[in-house]
Protein backbone atom coordinates (compact mmCIF):
# COMPACT_ATOMS: atom_id res chain seq x y z
CA UNK A 1 0.00 0.00 0.00
CA UNK A 2 2.33 2.75 1.03
CA UNK A 3 6.02 2.52 0.56
CA UNK A 4 6.69 4.07 3.93
CA UNK A 5 7.98 0.89 5.43
CA UNK A 6 11.68 0.59 4.83
CA UNK A 7 12.89 -2.24 6.96
CA UNK A 8 14.76 -3.91 4.13
CA UNK A 9 16.47 -6.97 5.58
CA UNK A 10 15.89 -5.75 9.11
CA UNK A 11 13.05 -8.18 9.75
CA UNK A 12 15.31 -11.17 9.39
CA UNK A 13 17.65 -10.04 12.12
CA UNK A 14 17.74 -12.29 15.14
CA UNK A 15 17.42 -10.06 18.17
CA UNK A 16 18.20 -12.79 20.68
CA UNK A 17 21.84 -12.97 19.71
CA UNK A 18 22.34 -9.28 19.91
CA UNK A 19 23.57 -7.10 22.70
CA UNK A 20 21.29 -4.41 23.99
CA UNK A 21 23.16 -1.47 22.53
CA UNK A 22 23.20 -2.96 19.07
CA UNK A 23 19.54 -3.79 19.26
CA UNK A 24 18.75 -0.27 20.35
CA UNK A 25 20.85 1.27 17.60
CA UNK A 26 18.99 -0.85 15.04
CA UNK A 27 15.67 0.18 16.47
CA UNK A 28 16.57 3.85 16.10
CA UNK A 29 18.05 3.30 12.66
CA UNK A 30 15.05 1.44 11.30
CA UNK A 31 12.12 3.26 12.86
CA UNK A 32 12.96 6.71 14.17
CA UNK A 33 12.19 8.42 10.89
CA UNK A 34 8.72 6.98 10.43
CA UNK A 35 8.03 7.54 14.08
CA UNK A 36 9.11 11.16 13.85
CA UNK A 37 6.65 11.82 11.02
CA UNK A 38 3.92 10.13 12.97
CA UNK A 39 4.89 12.00 16.14
CA UNK A 40 4.93 15.39 14.48
CA UNK A 41 1.55 14.78 12.95
CA UNK A 42 0.07 13.72 16.28
CA UNK A 43 1.70 16.45 18.33
CA UNK A 44 1.54 19.24 15.76
CA UNK A 45 4.57 20.71 17.46
CA UNK A 46 8.21 19.92 16.79
CA UNK A 47 9.51 20.30 20.31
CA UNK A 48 6.74 18.23 21.77
CA UNK A 49 7.09 15.56 19.11
CA UNK A 50 10.74 15.15 20.02
CA UNK A 51 10.02 15.24 23.73
CA UNK A 52 7.51 12.44 23.47
CA UNK A 53 9.76 10.48 21.15
CA UNK A 54 12.67 10.78 23.51
CA UNK A 55 10.57 9.53 26.40
CA UNK A 56 9.23 6.70 24.29
CA UNK A 57 12.72 5.62 23.26
CA UNK A 58 13.88 5.73 26.88
CA UNK A 59 11.01 3.45 27.81
CA UNK A 60 11.81 1.24 24.88
CA UNK A 61 15.41 1.02 26.04
CA UNK A 62 14.35 0.01 29.52
CA UNK A 63 12.13 -2.81 28.32
CA UNK A 64 14.19 -3.79 25.32
CA UNK A 65 14.70 -7.31 26.63
CA UNK A 66 11.01 -8.00 26.11
CA UNK A 67 11.38 -7.37 22.38
CA UNK A 68 12.34 -10.69 20.83
CA UNK A 69 11.68 -10.35 17.12
CA UNK A 70 12.76 -7.61 14.78
CA UNK A 71 9.54 -7.86 12.85
CA UNK A 72 7.56 -6.94 15.94
CA UNK A 73 9.78 -3.96 16.69
CA UNK A 74 7.87 -1.31 14.86
CA UNK A 75 4.48 -2.13 16.33
CA UNK A 76 6.03 -2.43 19.74
CA UNK A 77 7.71 0.95 19.43
CA UNK A 78 4.61 2.70 18.12
CA UNK A 79 2.60 1.22 20.96
CA UNK A 80 5.05 2.64 23.48
CA UNK A 81 4.96 5.95 21.69
CA UNK A 82 1.18 6.11 21.64
CA UNK A 83 1.02 5.40 25.34
CA UNK A 84 3.62 8.04 26.11
CA UNK A 85 1.85 10.52 23.86
CA UNK A 86 -1.47 9.94 25.61
CA UNK A 87 0.22 10.42 28.96
CA UNK A 88 2.11 13.58 28.06
CA UNK A 89 -0.62 15.06 25.97
CA UNK A 90 -3.04 14.80 28.83
CA UNK A 91 -0.56 16.50 31.08
CA UNK A 92 0.31 19.26 28.65
CA UNK A 93 -3.08 19.76 27.13
CA UNK A 94 -3.59 23.15 28.65
CA UNK A 95 -0.44 24.35 26.96
CA UNK A 96 -1.25 22.88 23.61
CA UNK A 97 -4.92 23.70 23.44
CA UNK A 98 -4.59 25.30 20.05
CA UNK A 99 -3.01 22.43 18.24
CA UNK A 100 -6.29 21.20 16.85
CA UNK A 101 -6.77 24.39 14.92
CA UNK A 102 -5.02 23.98 11.65
CA UNK A 103 -3.67 26.67 9.49
CA UNK A 104 -1.44 26.47 6.53
CA UNK A 105 1.18 28.82 8.00
CA UNK A 106 1.62 26.65 11.08
CA UNK A 107 1.85 23.63 8.79
CA UNK A 108 4.58 25.23 6.74
CA UNK A 109 6.49 26.07 9.90
CA UNK A 110 6.42 22.43 10.87
CA UNK A 111 7.91 21.61 7.50
CA UNK A 112 4.84 20.32 5.73
CA UNK A 113 4.15 20.84 2.06
CA UNK A 114 2.37 24.20 1.95
CA UNK A 115 0.54 23.77 -1.35
CA UNK A 116 -3.27 24.07 -1.05
CA UNK A 117 -3.77 20.47 -2.27
CA UNK A 118 -1.56 19.14 0.50
CA UNK A 119 -3.28 21.30 3.07
CA UNK A 120 -6.68 20.06 1.88
CA UNK A 121 -5.56 16.46 2.38
CA UNK A 122 -4.32 17.08 5.91
CA UNK A 123 -7.43 19.03 6.69
CA UNK A 124 -9.61 16.17 5.46
CA UNK A 125 -7.66 13.75 7.65
CA UNK A 126 -8.11 15.95 10.71
CA UNK A 127 -11.85 16.04 10.10
CA UNK A 128 -12.21 12.28 10.35
CA UNK A 129 -13.57 10.89 13.60
CA UNK A 130 -10.64 9.72 15.69
CA UNK A 131 -11.48 6.03 15.51
CA UNK A 132 -11.33 6.12 11.71
CA UNK A 133 -8.39 8.47 11.56
CA UNK A 134 -6.06 6.48 13.78
CA UNK A 135 -5.77 3.35 11.68
CA UNK A 136 -5.44 5.39 8.51
CA UNK A 137 -2.61 7.43 10.04
CA UNK A 138 -0.87 4.24 11.05
CA UNK A 139 -1.23 2.74 7.61
CA UNK A 140 -0.22 5.81 5.67
CA UNK A 141 2.48 7.15 8.00
CA UNK A 142 3.74 3.96 9.55
CA UNK A 143 3.18 1.54 6.69
CA UNK A 144 1.41 -0.89 9.02
CA UNK A 145 -0.68 -3.81 7.80
CA UNK A 146 -4.23 -4.34 9.04
CA UNK A 147 -3.07 -7.07 11.42
CA UNK A 148 -0.34 -4.89 12.87
CA UNK A 149 -2.79 -2.03 13.38
CA UNK A 150 -5.17 -4.45 15.07
CA UNK A 151 -2.53 -5.43 17.56
CA UNK A 152 -1.38 -1.88 18.29
CA UNK A 153 -4.95 -0.60 18.72
CA UNK A 154 -5.99 -3.79 20.44
CA UNK A 155 -9.06 -4.35 18.28
CA UNK A 156 -9.93 -7.09 15.79
CA UNK A 157 -8.55 -7.08 12.28
CA UNK A 158 -12.05 -6.91 10.88
CA UNK A 159 -12.74 -3.82 12.97
CA UNK A 160 -9.60 -2.29 11.50
CA UNK A 161 -10.82 -3.11 7.99
CA UNK A 162 -14.15 -1.46 8.69
CA UNK A 163 -12.55 1.65 10.13
CA UNK A 164 -10.13 1.96 7.24
CA UNK A 165 -13.00 1.57 4.81
CA UNK A 166 -14.93 4.34 6.52
CA UNK A 167 -11.88 6.54 6.83
CA UNK A 168 -11.09 6.43 3.11
CA UNK A 169 -14.72 6.69 2.17
CA UNK A 170 -15.10 9.83 4.22
CA UNK A 171 -11.81 11.26 2.97
CA UNK A 172 -13.06 10.84 -0.58
CA UNK A 173 -16.33 12.53 0.28
CA UNK A 174 -14.64 15.46 1.98
CA UNK A 175 -12.30 15.87 -0.98
CA UNK A 176 -15.17 15.60 -3.44
CA UNK A 177 -14.00 12.37 -5.04
CA UNK A 178 -17.28 10.76 -4.10
CA UNK A 179 -20.43 12.80 -3.89
CA UNK A 180 -22.76 10.65 -1.83
CA UNK A 181 -22.38 7.31 -0.14
CA UNK A 182 -22.89 4.85 -2.96
CA UNK A 183 -21.96 1.64 -1.25
CA UNK A 184 -24.57 1.85 1.44
CA UNK A 185 -22.07 1.23 4.16
CA UNK A 186 -21.22 4.62 5.47
CA UNK A 187 -23.77 5.26 8.15
CA UNK A 188 -21.70 7.11 10.61
CA UNK A 189 -23.64 9.83 12.30
CA UNK A 190 -20.60 11.37 13.86
CA UNK A 191 -20.30 14.06 11.23
Amino acid sequence: MTNQSNETGEDQVNYDDMNKNRKYALLIEAHSQDLYKYALWLCKDKAMAEDVMQEAFLRAWKSLDSLREAKAAKGWLFTIFRREHARQFERKQFQYKDVESMDSIADAQMGYDDRPEAFALRNALVRLPQEYREPLEMQVLGGFSCDEIASVLDISASAVMTRLFRARKKMRQILGHESTPELGLVQDTRG
Partner: protein, 243 residues
Protein backbone atom coordinates in the same frame (compact mmCIF):
# COMPACT_ATOMS: atom_id res chain seq x y z
CA UNK B 1 -15.96 -10.98 -6.01
CA UNK B 2 -18.39 -8.45 -7.40
CA UNK B 3 -17.78 -4.76 -7.96
CA UNK B 4 -19.33 -3.75 -4.66
CA UNK B 5 -17.17 -6.18 -2.70
CA UNK B 6 -14.16 -5.10 -4.66
CA UNK B 7 -14.66 -1.44 -3.90
CA UNK B 8 -15.20 -2.18 -0.26
CA UNK B 9 -11.91 -4.05 -0.04
CA UNK B 10 -10.20 -1.37 -2.12
CA UNK B 11 -11.08 1.17 0.54
CA UNK B 12 -10.01 -1.10 3.42
CA UNK B 13 -6.81 -2.38 1.93
CA UNK B 14 -6.00 -1.05 -1.51
CA UNK B 15 -2.82 -3.09 -1.73
CA UNK B 16 -4.55 -6.37 -0.90
CA UNK B 17 -3.04 -9.37 -2.62
CA UNK B 18 -6.14 -11.49 -2.18
CA UNK B 19 -6.55 -13.58 -5.33
CA UNK B 20 -10.17 -12.67 -6.04
CA UNK B 21 -9.31 -9.01 -5.60
CA UNK B 22 -6.44 -9.13 -8.04
CA UNK B 23 -8.46 -11.17 -10.52
CA UNK B 24 -11.36 -8.77 -10.41
CA UNK B 25 -9.18 -5.78 -11.09
CA UNK B 26 -7.70 -7.63 -14.09
CA UNK B 27 -11.11 -8.04 -15.65
CA UNK B 28 -12.99 -4.92 -14.60
CA UNK B 29 -11.58 -1.65 -15.92
CA UNK B 30 -13.97 0.39 -13.81
CA UNK B 31 -12.76 -1.20 -10.58
CA UNK B 32 -9.14 -1.02 -11.69
CA UNK B 33 -9.59 2.70 -12.12
CA UNK B 34 -11.26 2.93 -8.73
CA UNK B 35 -8.49 1.17 -6.82
CA UNK B 36 -5.96 3.29 -8.70
CA UNK B 37 -7.64 6.42 -7.35
CA UNK B 38 -7.64 5.05 -3.83
CA UNK B 39 -3.93 4.23 -4.04
CA UNK B 40 -3.24 7.68 -5.42
CA UNK B 41 -5.12 9.24 -2.52
CA UNK B 42 -2.97 7.26 -0.08
CA UNK B 43 0.20 8.32 -1.84
CA UNK B 44 -0.88 11.96 -1.92
CA UNK B 45 -1.84 11.84 1.73
CA UNK B 46 1.50 10.29 2.70
CA UNK B 47 3.26 12.99 0.71
CA UNK B 48 1.25 15.74 2.40
CA UNK B 49 2.35 14.37 5.78
CA UNK B 50 5.96 14.05 4.81
CA UNK B 51 8.51 16.24 6.56
CA UNK B 52 12.25 16.40 6.62
CA UNK B 53 13.48 14.56 9.66
CA UNK B 54 16.08 16.52 11.66
CA UNK B 55 19.51 15.25 10.70
CA UNK B 56 20.64 14.88 14.28
CA UNK B 57 17.53 13.09 15.55
CA UNK B 58 19.12 9.67 15.72
CA UNK B 59 22.18 10.96 17.51
CA UNK B 60 20.01 12.78 20.01
CA UNK B 61 17.92 9.71 20.74
CA UNK B 62 21.02 7.64 21.38
CA UNK B 63 22.59 10.30 23.55
CA UNK B 64 19.46 10.86 25.60
CA UNK B 65 19.44 7.20 26.53
CA UNK B 66 23.14 7.08 27.17
CA UNK B 67 22.88 10.07 29.46
CA UNK B 68 19.94 8.61 31.30
CA UNK B 69 21.80 5.36 31.83
CA UNK B 70 24.89 7.04 33.13
CA UNK B 71 23.00 9.37 35.42
CA UNK B 72 21.10 6.42 36.88
CA UNK B 73 24.27 4.46 37.39
CA UNK B 74 25.83 7.19 39.41
CA UNK B 75 22.85 9.02 40.76
CA UNK B 76 24.11 8.68 44.29
CA UNK B 77 27.31 10.48 43.52
CA UNK B 78 26.07 12.78 40.81
CA UNK B 79 27.38 16.26 41.10
CA UNK B 80 25.46 19.23 39.90
CA UNK B 81 26.86 22.67 39.62
CA UNK B 82 24.93 25.86 39.45
CA UNK B 83 25.79 27.78 36.35
CA UNK B 84 25.43 31.02 38.17
CA UNK B 85 28.53 32.99 37.48
CA UNK B 86 29.30 32.16 33.89
CA UNK B 87 27.11 30.64 31.23
CA UNK B 88 27.78 30.08 27.58
CA UNK B 89 25.48 28.17 25.30
CA UNK B 90 26.74 26.28 22.33
CA UNK B 91 24.15 26.09 19.65
CA UNK B 92 24.62 23.59 16.98
CA UNK B 93 22.54 25.75 14.76
CA UNK B 94 21.02 25.10 11.44
CA UNK B 95 18.67 22.57 12.93
CA UNK B 96 16.16 25.24 12.33
CA UNK B 97 17.50 25.90 8.89
CA UNK B 98 17.50 22.28 7.89
CA UNK B 99 13.99 21.68 9.08
CA UNK B 100 12.55 24.93 7.83
CA UNK B 101 11.72 26.09 11.28
CA UNK B 102 12.67 29.39 12.74
CA UNK B 103 14.47 32.05 10.78
CA UNK B 104 15.67 31.38 7.29
CA UNK B 105 19.44 31.74 6.86
CA UNK B 106 19.11 35.29 5.58
CA UNK B 107 17.13 36.38 8.60
CA UNK B 108 19.53 35.21 11.25
CA UNK B 109 21.55 38.39 11.13
CA UNK B 110 18.50 40.49 11.93
CA UNK B 111 17.44 38.06 14.56
CA UNK B 112 20.50 38.05 16.74
CA UNK B 113 18.91 39.66 19.78
CA UNK B 114 16.17 37.07 19.84
CA UNK B 115 18.85 34.46 19.66
CA UNK B 116 20.72 35.90 22.62
CA UNK B 117 17.52 36.20 24.59
CA UNK B 118 16.67 32.58 23.85
CA UNK B 119 20.05 31.40 25.08
CA UNK B 120 20.01 33.50 28.24
CA UNK B 121 16.45 32.50 29.05
CA UNK B 122 17.32 28.88 28.61
CA UNK B 123 20.24 29.26 30.98
CA UNK B 124 17.95 31.00 33.48
CA UNK B 125 15.40 28.23 33.18
CA UNK B 126 17.98 25.52 33.65
CA UNK B 127 20.54 26.87 36.06
CA UNK B 128 21.72 23.38 36.98
CA UNK B 129 23.60 21.24 34.52
CA UNK B 130 25.48 18.05 35.29
CA UNK B 131 29.23 18.09 35.57
CA UNK B 132 30.65 15.33 33.43
CA UNK B 133 34.11 14.00 33.09
CA UNK B 134 35.96 15.64 30.25
CA UNK B 135 36.16 12.47 28.13
CA UNK B 136 32.43 12.03 28.14
CA UNK B 137 31.75 15.68 27.43
CA UNK B 138 34.16 15.60 24.48
CA UNK B 139 32.60 12.46 23.10
CA UNK B 140 29.09 13.82 23.43
CA UNK B 141 29.82 17.15 21.81
CA UNK B 142 31.75 15.50 19.00
CA UNK B 143 28.93 13.05 18.29
CA UNK B 144 26.39 15.83 18.13
CA UNK B 145 28.62 17.94 15.94
CA UNK B 146 29.30 15.13 13.53
CA UNK B 147 25.64 14.34 13.14
CA UNK B 148 24.87 17.95 12.48
CA UNK B 149 27.75 19.44 10.56
CA UNK B 150 30.33 16.98 9.30
CA UNK B 151 32.59 19.80 8.21
CA UNK B 152 32.96 21.09 11.74
CA UNK B 153 35.06 19.34 14.31
CA UNK B 154 35.54 20.19 17.89
CA UNK B 155 39.03 19.82 19.24
CA UNK B 156 39.91 19.08 22.76
CA UNK B 157 38.87 21.61 25.36
CA UNK B 158 40.07 20.38 28.69
CA UNK B 159 37.45 22.24 30.69
CA UNK B 160 34.44 21.05 28.66
CA UNK B 161 31.91 19.68 31.17
CA UNK B 162 28.59 19.01 29.58
CA UNK B 163 26.71 19.04 26.28
CA UNK B 164 23.14 18.42 25.33
CA UNK B 165 20.72 19.39 22.58
CA UNK B 166 18.10 21.61 24.08
CA UNK B 167 15.28 23.70 22.72
CA UNK B 168 16.09 27.31 23.50
CA UNK B 169 13.28 29.62 22.66
CA UNK B 170 12.42 28.89 19.06
CA UNK B 171 15.83 27.46 18.35
CA UNK B 172 17.32 24.11 19.11
CA UNK B 173 20.91 23.47 19.81
CA UNK B 174 23.62 21.97 21.88
CA UNK B 175 23.79 23.47 25.32
CA UNK B 176 27.35 22.91 26.48
CA UNK B 177 29.28 24.13 29.47
CA UNK B 178 32.90 24.81 30.25
CA UNK B 179 34.43 24.93 33.67
CA UNK B 180 35.99 28.24 34.56
CA UNK B 181 37.47 29.93 37.60
CA UNK B 182 34.11 31.36 38.62
CA UNK B 183 31.78 28.51 37.76
CA UNK B 184 30.27 27.05 34.61
CA UNK B 185 30.43 28.32 31.07
CA UNK B 186 28.10 27.66 28.09
CA UNK B 187 28.28 28.55 24.33
CA UNK B 188 26.32 28.45 21.03
CA UNK B 189 27.02 27.93 17.33
CA UNK B 190 24.23 28.56 14.81
CA UNK B 191 24.72 27.49 11.25
CA UNK B 192 23.40 29.97 8.75
CA UNK B 193 24.19 33.47 7.60
CA UNK B 194 26.91 35.02 9.78
CA UNK B 195 26.12 38.41 11.25
CA UNK B 196 28.20 41.20 9.74
CA UNK B 197 30.26 41.93 12.78
CA UNK B 198 30.80 40.91 16.34
CA UNK B 199 28.25 42.35 18.73
CA UNK B 200 28.24 42.55 22.51
CA UNK B 201 25.05 43.15 24.33
CA UNK B 202 24.05 43.13 27.96
CA UNK B 203 20.98 41.21 28.83
CA UNK B 204 19.48 40.44 32.22
CA UNK B 205 22.76 40.75 34.02
CA UNK B 206 24.72 38.79 31.44
CA UNK B 207 27.24 39.88 28.90
CA UNK B 208 26.19 38.31 25.63
CA UNK B 209 28.23 38.14 22.48
CA UNK B 210 27.37 37.10 18.95
CA UNK B 211 30.40 36.36 16.87
CA UNK B 212 30.20 35.57 13.18
CA UNK B 213 32.17 32.44 12.39
CA UNK B 214 32.54 30.29 9.31
CA UNK B 215 29.12 28.91 8.40
CA UNK B 216 27.21 30.56 11.20
CA UNK B 217 27.33 32.41 14.46
CA UNK B 218 28.78 31.74 17.83
CA UNK B 219 26.76 32.93 20.78
CA UNK B 220 28.47 33.45 24.12
CA UNK B 221 26.69 34.50 27.27
CA UNK B 222 28.37 35.11 30.59
CA UNK B 223 28.40 37.22 33.72
CA UNK B 224 31.61 39.03 33.00
CA UNK B 225 33.34 40.47 29.98
CA UNK B 226 36.49 38.67 30.98
CA UNK B 227 34.81 35.27 30.92
CA UNK B 228 33.37 36.00 27.49
CA UNK B 229 36.78 36.92 26.16
CA UNK B 230 38.39 33.87 27.66
CA UNK B 231 35.76 31.49 26.30
CA UNK B 232 36.00 33.08 22.89
CA UNK B 233 39.72 32.42 22.74
CA UNK B 234 39.23 28.80 23.81
CA UNK B 235 36.50 28.22 21.28
CA UNK B 236 38.44 29.84 18.51
CA UNK B 237 41.11 27.20 19.03
CA UNK B 238 38.67 24.34 19.44
CA UNK B 239 36.30 24.77 16.51
CA UNK B 240 37.79 23.69 13.22
CA UNK B 241 36.12 23.55 9.81
CA UNK B 242 37.37 21.12 7.17
CA UNK B 243 36.61 23.31 4.25
Amino acid sequence: MNCLEFKRLALSDPSSSEVSFVEHSDTCPDCLKYVGEVRQLDADLAESLNVEVPTDLKARLKLATEMQEESEQRSSISRYAIAASVAIALFVGGFMVSNQFGPQPGEIGKDYQKLLAAVVEHVNEQPMTPVWGNARAERTVNTLMASYDPSLSFNEIENLQFGRICPMGKYRGLHATLESANGQTTFAYIKGEPVGEMLDHSYEGYVARVKPVRGGNLVIVSRTQQSVDQAEVELQKAMVWDI
